[in-house]
């Protein structure tokens, strides 16, 4: 079917997407790398001298950078742990026969569709607020002192909020994968006397392995760039307690106008994301051949 003519037409049809994405990727990326080598601050007009790796050494030795890296890893790790474990549990549960599956599913996936600024503000004000929040009320009923979540445990609170947003995603994908499991295999195991636990451990979990990997990798890409939730809840504070790499670069650029340092930070963020991306691309690439 593919003649010389249709090949040329195909190239012509693909070209706009490729050219646009190429421009979107290469031009800003080139600019970021170039800026990262200059002393360039928007508040200090004048020429922007080439300073080599000065911005990098400044950025990498900034104590805020170390906090940001640790927090970034804690955020990604904590949220992955909660959402993947919770997601597996929920997928197993929702795969069971029950009444009202449709409504249960709708309720469980809903948080994923709530825009980040809304979910962060609702949690911050209506639940975690130490005076009027619902948690403070529950603590009061239980005779406990009210806990100021976003001041006393800002990072853990943000982990909680973002986990609530991403748990539905993990659940939905793992449930989809679970439903492709051959039920005859499970029945055979049951007839052979396998307990519910061993059916889970030896049949369901291995079947989910691939989907779990996909969930981990895709979420990691998004979680490395958590921004809006920090922006509206703690703004990185108190101090730098809940700052992550994305937020730190945001502060350097749009709050301190230090283009050079921010660009160096951007390059560091790109390198970090690429390490994850390589693994993800391999997984998806393999699937394309199948």
């Amino acid at each position: 079917m593919a003649t010389q003519h249709s090949r040329a037409a195909a190239r012509f049809m693909i070209a706009p997407s490729v050219v646009l994405l190429l421009a979107w990727m290469l031009i800003p990326l080139g600019m970021t790398i170039w800026f990262s080598l200059l002393r360039y601050n928007l508040l200090m007009p004048g020429d922007n001298p080439f300073v080599g790796f000065e911005n990098y050494s400044y950025f990498l030795t900034d104590p805020a950078f170390q906090t940001a890296i640790v927090n970034t890893l804690l955020l990604v790790g904590g949220i992955l742990l909660i959402t993947v474990c919770g997601g597996i549990g929920l997928a197993v549960l929702l795969d069971q026969p029950m009444w009202g599956t449709g409504i249960v599913r709708i309720m469980v996936i809903s948080p994923f569709f709530v825009m980040p600024t809304v979910s962060a503000l609702v949690w911050k004000n209506m639940f975690m607020n130490p005076v009027n929040g619902l948690f403070a009320y529950v603590a009061g009923v239980l005779g406990l002192p009210a806990f100021d979540f976003l001041t006393a445990a800002p990072l853990a609170s943000i982990i909680g909020i973002v986990s609530w947003q991403w748990l539905p995603f993990a659940t939905l994908i793992l449930l989809t994968a679970m439903q492709s499991l051959d039920s005859e295999q499970l029945e055979a195991a049951e007839i052979d006397g396998a307990s519910a636990w061993s059916r889970f451990y030896y049949i369901k979990l291995p079947h989910l392995a691939r989907a779990i990997t996909v969930v981990v990798l895709i979420q990691t890409i998004f979680l490395l760039s958590i921004f809006a939730e920090i922006y509206v809840t703690t703004a990185g504070g108190p101090g730098n307690a809940s700052i992550n790499l994305t937020y730190l670069v945001f502060q350097e650029s749009l709050q301190r106008y230090d283009v050079g340092t921010a660009s160096a930070g951007g390059v560091v963020a790109i390198i970090l994301a690429n390490i994850v991306a390589i693994f993800l691309m391999r997984m998806i690439g393999k699937n394309l051949d199948a």
Binding site: S6, I14, L20, G100, I221, I284
Partner: protein, 276 residues
């Protein structure tokens, strides 16, 4: 499972699942309920659940004070605009890759995907400066351009996975029957492609509607869609729970409903076809 399950087991599953589901859904439910309360009832101690004086007052106040409808329309224009533009660019590309696959097709697809892995903060500074110099800051056009580009790889991928499932034999069959190229496209291919295009459209509107990083950084008062507008409630205004809830409910309701209809497509779209 095909076998009959004892009702007791089913009842136990149902109870556990409903309790967990309601807990997960509760913050959304609570927001919707609070939006119908007076400010006093919203912070009542003990909290009131259903038995309060239901009022629509917050919805009208939110509109009067801040041109809520204007921001809502910004969200509609930006999310629909970027999606339609993205589809216009992506449909030919996905079509060509699915029906005339070449040796490079896989590499092109993988490369497109790799652009999605670029953390936005890595290109924040140059994009901000380009926008400033070209007068695109705080404009709907600027945001449409950025959202089109960041979602283009997902659109191409999703369309590609749908188009690839259209059997190309059917084209040959149509041709045997004497169909012209034009009638082939209109009567055979298009009807088979429409569901895939519709799903892609739906998922992409959801993603664009909820996008926060670029939205918060590139727009201010004029072009602000709801994501950015709601963020302004992080100031003391947020302590007006009933109004915050009303603004939030209107912002999430349309997308929540669209999301419920696109569960399946969501999996395919966000895993780039790796899980179906």
């Amino acid at each position: 499972m095909a076998r009959a399950v004892p009702n007791s087991v089913k009842a136990r599953n149902t109870a556990i699942a409903w309790i967990i589901a309601i807990l997960i859904f509760f913050p959304i439910l609570w927001t919707i309920l609070t939006s119908f309360k007076t400010e006093g009832a919203a912070i009542a101690d003990p909290p009131v659940f259903l038995f309060f004086d239901w009022t629509m007052e917050n919805y009208t106040t939110v509109q009067e004070r801040s041109d809520y409808f204007g921001h809502f329309m910004n969200s509609v224009i930006i999310s629909v605009g970027s999606t339609v533009l993205g589809l216009a660019i992506a449909i030919p590309a996905a079509w060509a890759m699915a029906f005339v696959p070449g040796r490079q097709t896989k590499n092109v697809l993988m490369w497109m995907l790799s652009t999605k892995m670029l953390p936005p903060v890595g290109v924040l500074v140059p994009i901000y400066l380009i926008f400033r110099d070209w007068g695109l800051l705080d404009t709907r056009v600027g945001l449409v351009i950025v959202l089109t580009l960041i979602n283009l790889p997902i659109i191409v991928w999703m369309l590609y996975t749908y188009f690839r499932e259209i059997p190309s034999d059917i084209l040959e069959a149509a041709r045997m029957d004497g169909a012209t190229l034009q009638s082939e496209v209109i009567h055979v291919l298009l009807p088979m492609a429409v569901p895939g295009i519709a799903s892609t459209l739906l998922l992409n509107i959801i993603l664009a509607w909820n996008e926060a990083f670029w939205t918060l950084n590139l727009v201010a008062a004029n072009a602000a869609p709801l994501t950015a507008f709601i963020a302004s409630y992080s100031s003391p205004e947020g302590l007006f729970y009933a109004k915050l809830s009303a603004a939030s409910t209107m912002a999430i309701a349309p997308i929540l409903i669209m999301g419920w209809f696109s569960q399946k497509q969501l999996v395919r779209g966000l895993t780039f076809g790796a899980v179906k």
